[in-house]
């Protein structure tokens, strides 16, 4: 119910001003660790709003500096000691219990896969950079840097959810001998995360369409191709089987490349007809999924899709500009054109309101197997302890169904 003040123009102005200053406070409050903001952020916001006084629309510089300084001081105070941090980061040693909540923030952070990869794989990078001259990169050392950068970026998208889940179980879960308290994150069955069909198919269509179109462009414009000639009993090599490769203009091979891509698109269209039929027949028969939580494509998933699209564009540019021979792009292009029609048809079929609880995996299952999707089993993860544990009960040692490492006493 609105107050009389809030209904008046002055009340509306105050409400607007407060919304603006809250936005400003929340911006500067990002200096605090995530868990701190979740636990006490609202309290802090309300105090800052009160201190700013009525009608204030944004924080004055002194208050903003005070928040940032307080936030970074909190981060610094809660950060593990250097030797704990180094062991955790470089050899994945279990973090001491005192830094467990810091580790949870670290693991849930957007850049965690890269931090973990850089921490554990730095000897490999050092070796790559030191030995790159002997690989023939000596004249163009930038390529070794590009290779390292690609390895780092790719680490963001190789099983990020699985890596985080494993890390949470290892570093955050209570350990052998601890008393489970209410609210503590303890291992147990949690809902299995699945991407919604709408979100998944939209982004799949985007990446497949981009890849397919780019490969067609490369097939039409690339100037060079590598030809391999097989020969029995070559005169220069004596009896036996040999082959040689030569770089040549595309010429008539352009027709072959385009034909391969068009045939893939044709098969994809035929597959799309089957996909439509299967979805129409089986979508209504799918089972309830009690152990599932649906979500759209995550931010890191979208970033991965955009990165893969950019990598494909880079490959096409190299082929079209003649810096490398045509050929590599045909493989992802063929796969993309095979899958694209089915993805587009599935996206159209699943537009309706009855598909709001449909996962992308269900669509893939129905399209490829022609059967009703199975019920997802729950996933293993961490969940809050619903109440205080029975008196005297401690976290038990490692059992056969526990995560694949031993609890450390």
């Amino acid at each position: 119910m609105m107050t009389a003040g809030a209904e008046s123009p002055a009340g509306n102005a105050d409400t607007l001003a407060e919304a603006q200053i809250v936005e400003s406070i929340e911006f500067w409050m990002r200096a605090y660790p995530r868990r701190w903001r979740e636990a006490r952020g609202q309290e802090l916001v309300d105090v800052v709003v009160d201190l700013a006084g009525p009608g204030a629309r944004r924080l004055d510089p002194r208050a903003a500096f005070d928040l940032v300084r307080g936030g970074w001081a909190t981060r610094w105070r809660e950060h593990p000691l250097p030797h704990n941090w180094l062991l955790y980061r470089m050899v994945d040693r279990r973090i001491p219990v005192a830094y467990r909540s810091w580790a949870l923030d670290d693991i849930d952070g957007f850049w965690y896969p890269i931090r973990r990869f850089l921490g554990s794989a730095w000897p490999v990078f050092a070796m790559v950079l030191i030995t790159s001259p002997s690989w023939g990169f000596g004249e163009r050392p930038v390529w070794s840097l590009v290779m390292v950068a690609l390895m780092v970026v790719s680490s963001m998208f190789i099983r990020p959810a699985g890596i985080r889940s494993q890390a949470r179980l290892k570093h955050v879960a209570p350990r052998f001998g601890e008393v489970p308290v209410e609210g503590a994150l303890v291992p147990g069955d949690v809902p299995r995360q699945r991407v919604t069909a709408r979100s998944g198919l939209t982004w799949a269509g985007l990446v497949l369409g981009t890849t397919g179109a780019a490969s067609v462009v490369a097939a039409l414009l690339a100037p060079k191709v590598v030809l391999t000639k097989f020969q029995l009993n070559r005169p220069d090599m004596g009896p036996g089987f040999g082959w040689g490769s030569v770089v040549a203009p595309m010429g008539g091979h352009r027709v072959v490349a385009v034909a391969i891509l068009l045939v893939a698109l044709g098969f994809g269209a035929l597959g799309a007809v089957a996909v439509r039929r299967r979805l129409g027949r089986l979508l209504g028969e799918r089972l309830d999924q009690p152990y599932r939580a649906l979500r759209p494509v995550t931010a890191s998933g979208k970033a991965g899709i955009l990165c893969s699209a950019m990598a494909m564009m880079g490959l096409i540019w190299l082929e079209v500009s003649g810096q490398i021979v045509f050929g590599l792009s045909v493989v992802p292009g063929t796969v993309a054109l095979l899958l694209l029609p089915g993805a587009l048809v599935a996206r159209l079929v699943t537009r309706g309101a009855d598909a709001h609880d449909l996962a992308g995996r269900d669509v893939w299952w129905i399209a490829t197997r022609g059967r009703v999707p199975r019920i997802d089993p729950p996933a293993r993860g961490l969940r809050p302890q619903p109440g205080p544990g029975p008196e005297g009960v401690l976290i038990q040692p490692h059992g056969p169904t526990d995560p694949p490492y031993r609890a450390t006493p």
Binding site: L44, D46, V47, L51, D66, L67, G70
Partner: protein
């Protein structure tokens, strides 16, 4: 934990009664005769450290006019700490008066 002047003022403000964050800022301003105006970042840094040291604890919360008010109070250790710090300051003041006795008398005349 070393008690700073700001920390002492916060403890002193809670010695009277449990207070919420905004209330602590107001009480500290009054206790310091307007000299110390705590920012929210500074206040919550102090409360975090004092909480870790076992000197203060949360004692409840309520929502007033749509604002979340979490109250803090002194623990037994916090009460002992503020009493000890006050005694230390009193002793310091006494020594200071002894050292500056003539000059204080001169300044006061």
């Amino acid at each position: 934990m070393r008690i700073t002047e700001q920390g002492y003022l916060v403890l002193l403000s809670l010695a009277e009664q449990p207070r919420h964050g905004y209330g602590i800022v107001g009480a500290v301003l009054e206790l310091s005769d307007g000299a110390t105006k705590l920012g929210a970042g500074t206040l919550y840094g102090l409360l975090d450290r004092m909480g870790d040291a076992g000197l203060v604890e949360a004692s409840g919360e309520e929502v007033v006019d749509g604002r979340l008010r979490r109250y803090y109070r002194l623990t037994a250790e916090g009460s002992a700490a503020v009493v000890m710090e006050t005694a230390r300051l009193r002793a310091l003041t006494h020594r200071a008066r002894t050292v500056l006795g003539t000059r204080v008398a001169f300044a006061g005349s």
